[in-house]
């Protein structure tokens, strides 16, 4: 993939004019292009009028925004930190910012199999320790913050990261069991995967949050955050195991045989030879699972956790600011789009890098 020169068909070239000509080549293309253009032209002015021209940018309560006016961005100004951080103590928000950035950096590094070294494992251990100290506090003069007070974007990030991270840890043995020649393992894996895939995430979260404390003896129930993470992990792991199984089956048999002929045992064969190749193969599917998990975390609203979307909903309940739900959801939506777009952009970059490193396209 080092040769970028492409031979263009005659009559085509770079630049705006050839591009326009190319759009009008077929009658269907022409009609579709004009239709799209018309749609944009009709939708854009009212949107701009609402979001920019008639919008209110400053104000201290809803009286600043007349009911017949445009978007009330003053509401977002007042509620920004509530939406971004939920009930995390106001003066401690910087701790949540740093802690979340550390975890995001670790995740970005871990997405690339080339960085899977002992140093990264150490990085996770240290990073999670620092994360816990910052988020919980209670040591080094930091104020203690109970996990029930965590909210907003840091909560969304940590639910996604832990869901994917522990989900992947659970998924590896499940996927190996799924392709195992031993029927006990294979059947157990099939039952687990099919059972979980047959149930919506919302009901798993509900069971984890509502039923778990009733089943466990009083005082032994983990905190709400841990219960929800357990639910997300159980759910994500089932999907990841299936994705990974696809990768495992795509690794050529010759690789297994080569490993056997070198005298490698089962675990060494899997971890040194088969799994790295399988993970590389399923990376695109893995990235979409991360995005799905990220968006799935917004379902924790039904168990009253204030993730980004939950905090956006909670911001609507202030009697001094009634009825600005469009602004709140547009703001939260923009953040979700930005996050999902960055994840898929980064995923594509890692793929390209991997391909060029392997050198065979």
């Amino acid at each position: 993939m080092t040769d970028h020169s492409v031979t263009l068909p005659p009559g085509e070239g770079r630049g705006i004019k050839p591009w326009i000509r190319a759009q009008m080549r077929s009658p269907l293309g022409l009609v579709l292009n004009i239709a799209m253009l018309a749609l944009i032209v009709t939708a854009l002015p009212p949107l701009l009028d609402w979001a920019v021209i008639r919008a209110t940018w400053t104000g201290s309560d809803m009286n600043a925004c007349p009911p017949e006016g445009g978007a009330c961005w003053a509401f977002i100004g007042a509620k920004m930190r509530l939406i971004l951080f939920g009930t995390y103590p106001y003066d401690e928000h910087w701790r949540a910012v740093i802690a979340t950035l550390i975890v995001v950096a670790l995740v970005l590094a871990s997405l690339n199999p080339l960085y899977w070294t002992r140093r990264l494992a150490m990085g996770w251990v240290i990073g999670l320790a620092v994360y816990s100290v910052l988020m919980w506090g209670g040591v080094f003069g930091l104020r203690f913050v109970d996990s029930s007070a965590w909210g907003g974007l840091p909560l969304t990030v940590i639910l996604t990261v832990f869901g994917v991270f522990f989900g992947a840890l659970v998924a590896v043995p499940v996927a190996l069991a799924r392709v195992s020649r031993l029927p006990v393992f294979r059947i157990a894996a099939v039952i687990y995967v099919e059972l979980i895939r047959g149930v919506p995430l919302i009901s798993i979260l509900f069971m984890a949050s509502v039923a778990m404390p009733l089943l466990l003896p009083e005082g032994f129930s983990p905190s709400g955050l841990v219960r929800v993470i357990i639910g997300i992990v159980i759910f994500t792991a089932a999907y990841m195991a299936e994705v990974l199984r696809g990768g495992l089956q795509a690794v050529p048999k010759g690789q297994h045989e080569a490993a056997s002929s070198l005298g490698l045992g089962y675990w060494k064969t899997q971890f040194k030879v088969v799994l790295p190749q399988a993970v590389e193969l399923v990376l695109p599917a893995f990235v979409s699972l991360i995005i799905i998990t990220l968006k799935g975390t917004s379902l924790v609203v039904i168990v009253a956790m204030m993730d980004l979307l939950g905090a956006a909903k909670a911001s609507l309940a202030d009697p001094n600011w009634v009825g600005f739900y469009v602004e709140a959801f547009a703001f939260a939506g923009a953040i979700y789009v930005a996050m999902c777009a960055s994840i898929s952009w980064y995923g594509r970059r890692v793929e390209t890098k991997l391909r060029s490193t392997r050198g065979n396209g």
Binding site: K79, G86, Y90, A311, A317, P319, V322, G323
Partner: protein, 338 residues
């Protein structure tokens, strides 16, 4: 092991666990923190302010309870709960008190095994209609399309009321207020039903406030009360008398601003007894003698508590109505403090 020995062991385990379980009041004091279930989406009742701090009527009850039991309203862990979560959270011991707009009813008290405090908020279900519709009472709404919150008690009361009156209606269920009110103001329904203060504030924000009228009819009783599990009589006493104490403070003219001065300087034996300057009322029930001073410092007397969250000092501006003292035409009373 025979079935009988297993059953006997199970019964022993259960009764043993119950016997070892002391009054929740002692557990809370030993823990040093009160755990209170509430809600985060109802304006004036339970919500988060700009800084993410808990605020509202049901939240303030929790703060008052923490002040009464532990002497400090900040020794409090608030847990947001959705409707289906609230009773399991109470049953499992995750929370000590449920203060989340729970309507006190006989079936909940007698069959579910709960103790209710208060009730501390009396409200009901009203209707808003277009002025030009000519509707002046609920009985004019026969055949109307009515917007209502789906899955709420209001949806059930609405159906029951119309069935009882022999009238028909078409319900349009909405997921929340932010969905329901735009539907109503866009003319998808002839009427909308909720508690009057919420309808009033939405009408204010609709941009067509003059075209709508809130009917004076109220079709259901909704007397809301904080809840605890049965089996902690001393905790129930503290909370019930705290509720009466806030009413007593309003009767005596004791406020957030003057409570410390009153406790120190008042010569009135009733006030001195009430605020714990004299006597042993608090210690006899398992809290400090100045417990009511802590409560009033934290949330004020009942009038201040109501007006700040729902009443004239809030954006909702709800009239005291039934929630006023008996001497002012309401239904609030408190037994004597001797």
């Amino acid at each position: 092991m025979s079935l009988r020995t297993i059953a006997a062991a199970a019964i022993l385990a259960v009764t043993g666990a119950t016997a070892a379980h002391a009054d929740l009041l002692d557990d809370i004091k030993a823990r040093g923190e009160l755990s209170c279930g509430t809600l985060n989406y109802l304006p004036g009742v339970g919500f988060l302010d700009d800084k993410g701090e808990w605020s509202g009527y049901d939240v303030d009850f929790c703060k008052a309870a923490a002040a009464a039991i532990l002497g400090d309203p900040s020794k409090l862990k608030l847990v947001a709960l959705t409707g289906p979560q609230k009773f399991p959270a109470l049953d499992s011991g995750e929370i000590d008190i449920l203060s989340r707009s729970v309507t006190q009813t006989i079936s909940r008290e007698t069959t579910l095994g709960y103790d209710f405090i208060g009730p501390n908020l009396m409200t009901g279900q009203g209707f808003m209609v277009r002025k030009d519709s000519g509707v002046t009472s609920v009985d004019d709404l026969d055949g109307a399309t009515i917007c209502v919150l789906g899955g709420s008690a209001q949806e059930r009361y609405l159906a029951e009321y119309f069935a009882y009156k022999g009238m028909t209606f078409t319900p349009v269920a909405a997921e929340g207020g932010d969905q329901m009110y735009p539907m109503y103001f866009d003319g998808r329904c002839d009427a909308v039903t909720q508690e009057p203060p919420y309808m009033a504030i939405r009408r204010l924000r609709s941009g067509q406030a003059d075209e709508h009228v809130i009917l004076s009819d109220i079709i259901s009783k909704s007397y809301e009360a904080p809840v605890i599990r049965e089996g902690s009589p001393r905790l129930r006493e503290v909370l019930q008398w705290m509720h009466w104490g806030m009413i007593t403070a309003e009767e005596m003219g004791i406020t957030q601003a003057n409570v410390e001065e009153m406790a120190a300087t008042s010569q009135d034996p009733n006030v001195r007894n009430f605020l714990g300057t004299d006597g042993n009322v608090g210690q006899d029930m398992g809290v400090s003698n100045d417990w009511m001073v802590n409560v009033i410092k934290a949330v004020g007397n009942f009038g201040e508590f109501f007006d700040r969250n729902l009443g004239k000092n809030s954006a909702l501006g709800v009239e005291r109505g039934m929630n006023a003292l008996h001497r002012d035409g309401g239904v609030l009373f408190a037994p004597g403090w001797q």
